[in-house]
Symmetry: C2
Subunit: 335 residues, 2 copies
C-alpha cells in the first residue's frame, strides 16, 4: 500500500482540510496516510471523522512553518516542523511521498535539502497543472523560480514533465512545447533557441515553440520554461482570473435586472468555477527530488488535499523517479 505523509499544519485553514482530505483519500483511494503535525490539534480534527477503521496514523511534529516564514530560515530553524518531519519519513522510507499545502518556498527548500535530488537531475522543478480550453489539463514547468536556467535544465524539465504528465493524466505520449515568443525555431532568446535544438533531438514528443496564448489552447500538454518566466506566468494567470471575476461580480451588481440575471446564472457560474478549479488538479509536484513531493495551494480545501494525495500516490505507484532517471540517462548526450 502506498503511504503518503501529509503536512497537517501547512494550509491557511490547517489542520481541518488536511485531516478531512486525508480521511477521504484513505477511504476512497486505498492510500495509507501519515498525518504529521501537532498531535492535539490533529487528533481533535480527526475525531470528527470516525476514522477508526482507516489506515491513518498521527505523527507528532512540534513546530509549524507559517506562510510568513522565510523559506531558508524556516528550513534552518524549525527543524521539528511538520514539513521537516514529513520529509524525514520519506527519507527513511516510512512514506513514499509528502503532500503539503504550506509555504511553497519552505516546502521546496525542505524537500530539496532533506530528500536530495535524483542523480541525473541538476535542478528540481515545480510543475503547475491547469485546465485548458479543450477540457484537458496543461502543465507548465518550472514555475518554482529556478532563475537563470541553462539549456540542459530545460531539457531535464521537459523529460520530468513528460513522465509526470503520463503518470498523472494517463496520456501515453504528451505533447511537449517550449514557451517562447513565436512558433519559428529562430524565435526566442539565446536560451530557448539552444533548448529548441536539443529538444528536437530528444526522446520527448516535442511540438516546437508555443506562445503565451497556447497555455490555454489545449494544443500542448507540457510547456517548458525557465522558472523566472514560469513564476511570472503563473501569477499573471492567478491575478487576471481574480480580476475578471471581480469585475464580473461588480458588473452584475450594477442594476436590478443584472442582479436577477446573476441569480439565474448562478448555476452556470458555479459550473465555470468548477471547470477552472485548481482543487481538481491536485497541486503542483516538485519534480526531481528523491521521493515524491506535491505542494497544494494554501487555500486548499479537503477535496484539493485528497486530490494532491491522489497525485502523490500515482507518482509513487508509477515509479516516476525511476523513469525520470532512465530517460535522463538516455538523454545524457543532449546536455
Amino acid at each position: 500500500m502506498i503511504t503518503i505523509a501529509v503536512d497537517a499544519m501547512g494550509g491557511d485553514h490547517a489542520p481541518r482540510p488536511e485531516v478531512e482530505g486525508s480521511v477521504l483519500a484513505a477511504r476512497e483511494l486505498g492510500v495509507r496516510v501519515l498525518l504529521v503535525g501537532q498531535p492535539a490539534a490533529v487528533r481533535a480534527e480527526l475525531a470528527k471523522h470516525a476514522p477508526a477503521h482507516l489506515p491513518i496514523e498521527v505523527i507528532p511534529a512540534s513546530e509549524v512553518i507559517t506562510m510568513d516564514d522565510h523559506p531558508v530560515q524556516a528550513f534552518r530553524k524549525k527543524k521539528d516542523s511538520s514539513v521537516h518531519v514529513a520529509a524525514r519519513l520519506v527519507r527513511e522510507a516510512k512514506a513514499d511521498g509528502i503532500v503539503s499545502a504550506g509555504n511553497t518556498g519552505a516546502v521546496m527548500t525542505v524537500a530539496k535539502f532533506l530528500l536530495g535530488t535524483l542523480e541525473s537531475v541538476d535542478r528540481v522543478a515545480l510543475a503547475a497543472p491547469f485546465p485548458n480550453a479543450k477540457g484537458g489539463v496543461s502543465v507548465l514547468l518550472d514555475v518554482g523560480a529556478n532563475v537563470d536556467s541553462r539549456p540542459e535544465h530545460l531539457v531535464q524539465f521537459a523529460i520530468m514533465g513528460e513522465v509526470y504528465y503520463r503518470a498523472t493524466f494517463g496520456h501515453r505520449r504528451p505533447r511537449v512545447g517550449l514557451l517562447s515568443v513565436g512558433a519559428e525555431e529562430i524565435k526566442g532568446n539565446e536560451l530557448t533557441r539552444e533548448v529548441y535544438t536539443r529538444l528536437k533531438k530528444s526522446t520527448v514528443h516535442f511540438v516546437g515553440n508555443v506562445e503565451g496564448g497556447d497555455l490555454f489552447s489545449g494544443d500542448v500538454d507540457v510547456i517548458v520554461c525557465d522558472g523566472f518566466v514560469g513564476n511570472i506566468a503563473l501569477k499573471i494567470c492567478e491575478g487576471l482570473a481574480v480580476s475578471i471575476f471581480g469585475l464580473l461580480r461588480k458588473s452584475l451588481k450594477s442594476s436590478l435586472v443584472s442582479q436577477l440575471g446573476a441569480v439565474l446564472s448562478q448555476g452556470a457560474f458555479k459550473g465555470l468555477k468548477k471547470t477552472i478549479d485548481y482543487t481538481e488538479y491536485g497541486g503542483a509536484p516538485l519534480l526531481g527530488v528523491r521521493g515524491v513531493c506535491v505542494i497544494g495551494h494554501g487555500r486548499s480545501n479537503a477535496n484539493a488535499v485528497k486530490n494532491a494525495i491522489r497525485v502523490a500516490a500515482g507518482l509513487a505507484r508509477a515509479r516516476s523517479n525511476e523513469k525520470i532517471e532512465q530517460e535522463l540517462s538516455g538523454a545524457g548526450d543532449l546536455s
Copy 2:
C-alpha cells in the same frame, strides 16, 4: 496643428475603421490626418463621411503589408507600402507620428529602420497599456520581444515608459515597478537584480519589484521587463481572457434558466467588456523611435483608431521624445 499619418490599409477590416476613426479624430480632437493607402479604396470609404471641411488628406501608397507578411521581408520588398509611406512622411517632417493597426512586427521594423532611434536609446520598446483593478491603466514594456536585454536597456525602458505614461494618462509621477518573482531586492534573475540596483539610483519613482499578479492590481503604473517575458505575459493575458469568456459563454448556455440569466445579465457583460476593452486605451506606442509610432490591434474598430490617433497626437504635443532624451542623458551615469 498636430499631423498624424494613419496607415489606412493595416487592420483586419481596413480601410473602413481606419477612415472612420480618422474622421472622428479630425472632427473631435483637432488633429490633421494624412490617410495613407490605396487611393481608390480610401476615397470610397472617405466619401461616406462628408469630410469636406475636415483636415484630412489622402496620400497614395500602392502596396499593402498583410498580417501574414514576414516583417523583415515586408520591410525590404514592399517599399511603397502604406507603412513605408507613412514613416517617410514622419521622417520628412510632414507628419508628427504614425498610427497603424497593421502587422505589428512589420510596423516595428519599418519604423525602426526608416525613422531611426533616438540618440540616447539603444533599443526601442513596445509598451502595452491595459486596465487594472483600480479602474486605472497600467503599462507593461517591453512587449515587443526585444530578447536578451541588458540592464541598461531595462533602465531606458523605465524612463521611456514614465514619459509616455505622464503624457498619455496625466499622472505626474507614475509608479514604476520591475517585473520579477518576489518583492525583495534579492529576488529575481541576474538581469533584474542588476536593474533593481540601477533603478534605485535613477530619477524614476521606482517602487521595487512587482510580481505577475501586480499587473492588474493597480498598485503600479509602469511595469518594466525584458521583451521575452513581456511578450509572453501579453499573450497569456489575451489567451486567458478569451478562454474565460469562452468558458463563461458555454456555461451560460448550459441550461434554460442560465440562458435567461445570461440575457438579463447582458448589460453587465457589456459593461465588463467595455472595462477591459483595449480600444479605449489607444494602442501600443513604440517608444524610442524618432517621431511617434502607435500600433493598434489588428481588430481595431473606428473608436480604437481614433484613440490611437489621440495617443500619438498627445505624445507629439508633449514633446515626449525631447523629454526622453533629456531624462536619458541625465541618467547617463546609470548605464
